[in-house]
Subunit: 346 residues, 4 copies
């Protein structure tokens, strides 16, 4: 009989259910044996939907009563460190959603725990497994556009984040919750660590949405200088309403590359010449990154089965957190901030 | 002082005004000195709009009272032969809108008249002057996609043609009035004369539009075999409502080429993720072929100024008429029809 | 324990391995227990690649020595009837690759066998499960572009078919082997059976490829009239070299719809302004229809698990075969041929 | 006889010849009577190419010996003020290429001179007359995407600027010479003046191009905060090699709009499935903005003929210069710089 990786899914929210669905319906070598959520309704609903028998309100309970090889953590960011450390100490491999943590110290604690316990840690940077992003990265590394000079990465999302995810004190705000992937993407595709950042933010819809979170913003634009000398920008708009939008444009010494596009499905319709052509847009992130979610989980399962460390781990998560912290400090202090300042603090 | 070509515009309908506007506003080396139309209101309106002083209700009158070098004929097809022949006999260069004539004999009469009187004849196949079509033709002729094997050309137009233009007895119907350009395009791009055609037609909207013209159709699809052995299709839909649509796809031994696209201006908007992206479509033919109309007229003026025959003349017009006649006979007799049959009849 | 559908894969060629890979790697509720191929090397290679233990050189042997619920038949067309009938008689559900059979009588025999034995039959028309085609069909049926008037469907494939697949006597040629999907697609999307067809073929590359198969052609263009009065075309080019190309364009009374596009991955690069932008094209059919292959197999498995007949069965396969037969007769006899003629013969 | 505007073209370099060609070949109501250039060869070559008789080595000489209504100034930036002022004082209308001047004081001097002499001043911001940019502006102003929140504008150009145009002391460098249009575009489309900017620059190709200009850079990325609260970025890459690239993306409260695209002509070719599809890119700015150059000159001529001030004048030119000055100060001083600082200095 073939070996199958048994999963405990920690968190039954939106991201949790995406991964739950993936393992159940797309990964023959994976099996979900337990779901954990502290909210009973969410727990029951998710477990029922996917026919999972093991249902627990804490990881501690799951560890005690169930047998599994790996956890998938999709709970709010502040819980990442304790959960990941506890899982690692119990010799479970850890798949951890982004952002890795609220600060560098927590990142370091997680990295130390998985290293000491000799388990694997994979960060949920699914863009690295999207066929378009992955192909693009290979082609850039092969030199197709020459040495990267300038990159622009954007994530615009349709829905207002939940209160905890837009409050700087509980989440580091949109730069962390919406733009985590961009921080990882620009570093990956530019092939360079970040040197300094400058951030501007804007609050357009907060009043209309009756948001009184201090420091709330719904638009952010970060200017980056890389250690390589290259330049970059990250933009975030959330809620943007018009769809889920994640694209990159990168210019190298020899040319330009665009990754992703505004168009979704290739079904183009025109019924009114005064209106014009209509093409679907990606409505949501699970739709845009359907393959990314499947392939990152295949990669995690194969990494465990073949005992080879996964490609995207703690180091990548930590750099993304550092970018967020520098980015936030920049707009709060209205000046460019180096990554070194942030990493030194830690 | 530079020589300027003086024009008499015969026909003040839609096509007439497109050319009138072009000469007046875009061709410094051309000057409109006369407009001819048998309908007084149309005549006055067009001449007023473009500040033309010479206004006549017949070509005969214009010839008598005005001085000009060339005519632009945009009147209904049955008038093409008498007008073109009269103009040629009076030593005027002739720019003649498509379709050239209703039958091969008329085409031959026009060709003979311009030859005998040593004037130039240019057919209004503006697609030959569209930057995209022209570039495509050059690249095909240079061998970029290898020997052409299969071509598809379409013209779908938004508005219902006027009664004379959809009646087989006065106009040869849609294959002539809407698809004239396609007949020329497929022969030009395939680099081969046509051998035989098979046509199917359909009438979907005639009843709703209360059309009782015998043999009316609003959809037509022609299958073509070329003398080169290549294959092709021409499709026409009119009225199609959704916009003005003229595209070509051609496959050669070494590759494929697409000419034109459904999208118009590159202004893409999304305001509703459930609807998707909206891109303008070309609404009308003057909009789609804005450059084609300017460049064909520049070519005509330059041909006269430099005394070099224009690139698209009677031969091209005659082949397009032959295609139309074979295409019509095919669907009326429900069988494939060779071009030879049609040309022999003539 | 959840019920899992056990599969015997009959045929270890290219299509066979695509389905084998799908069931093994993408369908948690399916399990391959046997592979059948009469060529020992092909059998071993496929079974090794996907870790299947049951290996047999005939369906008879597999039936005797292995336990399974369903077969997937991907062997050459002439074998479809005997294999499908034998499987049905042994109460196995049948997933049958296109084309269904060489003639109407064989289609009828297969339909009778599955009916009598109360098993399911699903035809391998994966385009019905492609997200773009499926969405398009729903939107057309919902009336978005009005009553369908004209459809164009094309399949251009990169590689030369094997000898049996280009010989009319063993396979019905390219119209069957390459364009089977188009026959199903146009009927499905137009919502109408076909009335008559007219076909032109061309042979451009046969000599260069040293093909002496009688009646060989590498280009085909079919003109169709539907019972609804609508028009259509199917084009095939094989080998076309430039990529795998499967697109549909459909015009309805209210508008136009394009399904699929020439572009593959949204990774656009420009490194030379004299060359221009480069975008990937789909290289192969498994790549173009990656989701289609997964979703049709999910559908088959779910149909069996839930005991609901699959959506695409014998009737659809039979109509596609009828189209092929009429299409072939047309170009051989150089005349339009009705589907009724072909169905009556049967 | 219709009134025709007589032009004196000052500057026979690349931009000068673009305007010369436009007036001669596309503007029937304009006539070039004089060309001025201090370099005899350039003067003769341009005048010969377009058949202009009046040839002068200075504006003073042209004013003395020729009769004209308007000048088009395309000489290097430092000459703009003296030439524009001299022309205005001689009651000539002024069409002035961007950037308007090297500093705010010079802008003010030009504005004062045209005002005092009651002549018109139009700045060469041809993007305002590009059909796509112009349509986009109208649609944004009509509220289609809601209140503008974030804009990104880019200009990447193929060729290395001449030495004077990359030296901060003689030209304000790339932000002025390459990105002038972006400064105007973002202000126009956002409907707001700029508040502060932060700039990063990079020098990737300077060494390879043996450039020893102090402060040379070939990549620049500016972060902008608008007075409206909106955010923006401007990017410049020059030389970028891959083509001429000018695009804008703008997000409003209700949606997103993209203006322009990487693709040029709609002629798509694929001859190699391993390479993919090839689409032309715009090679040069005269090609990309062909309509913009014609329409801005039509607008200038019509403004004079109808005695209505042109739409884009000194105020727009001055704001673009202010942006450049703030942008430069930002990267030199490594801090965000407000426009107020720059305007106050003036």
């Amino acid at each position: 009989m073939e070996r199958v990786i048994r999963f405990c899914m920690i968190g039954a929210g939106r991201a949790g259910k995406v991964h739950l669905n993936t393992v159940v319906n797309n990964i023959p070598r994976g099996k979900v044996v337990a779901v954990v959520d502290s909210i009973p309704d969410a727990l029951t609903s998710a477990a029922d939907d996917f026919g999972v028998e093991g249902r627990f309100t804490s990881l501690e309970e799951a560890l005690e009563k169930s047998q599994f090889d790996a956890v998938v953590i999709t709970t709010p960011t502040p819980t990442h460190k304790p959960l990941a450390v506890l899982a690692a100490e119990n010799k479970k491999h850890v798949f951890l959603e982004k952002p890795m943590a609220l600060n560098i110290a927590d990142c370091d604690a997680i990295i130390a725990a998985v290293r000491m316990n000799e388990v694997f840690l994979q960060l949920g940077f699914m863009r690295r497994f999207d066929p378009e992003f992955a192909t693009a990265a290979q082609r850039i590394q092969a030199g197709e556009i020459g040495r990267p000079m300038m990159i622009k990465s954007l994530t615009h999302g349709p829905g207002l984040p939940p209160p905890w995810a837009r409050d700087l004190t509980t989440s580091n705000g949109m730069l962390a919750e919406v733009n985590s992937h961009d921080w990882d993407t620009v570093r990956w595709l530019m092939g360079s660590d970040l040197e300094r950042v400058y951030t501007e933010v804007a609050n357009f819809k907060g009043a209309a949405n009756q948001i009184d979170t201090p420091n709330f913003y719904d638009n952010v634009l970060v200017n980056i200088r890389f250690e390589s000398g290259g330049l970059g920008s990250i933009s975030g708009v959330c809620p943007c309403g018009y769809g889920y939008d994640a694209r990159v444009e990168i210019v190298g010494e020899q040319g330009i590359m665009q990754i992703g596009e505004l168009e979704g499905q290739a079904v183009v319709v025109c019924t009114d010449r005064n209106q014009g052509l209509i093409t679907p847009i990606y409505r949501t992130w699970p739709e845009r990154f359907a393959w990314g979610y499947i392939r990152e989980m295949q990669h995690f399962v194969q990494s465990i089965l073949q005992d080879i460390p996964p490609k995207v781990g703690g180091e990548e998560g930590r750099w993304a957190v550092a970018g967020v912290l520098a980015g936030n400090r920049s707009w709060l202090e209205e000046r460019p901030v180096t990554l070194r300042e942030v990493l030194k603090t830690a």
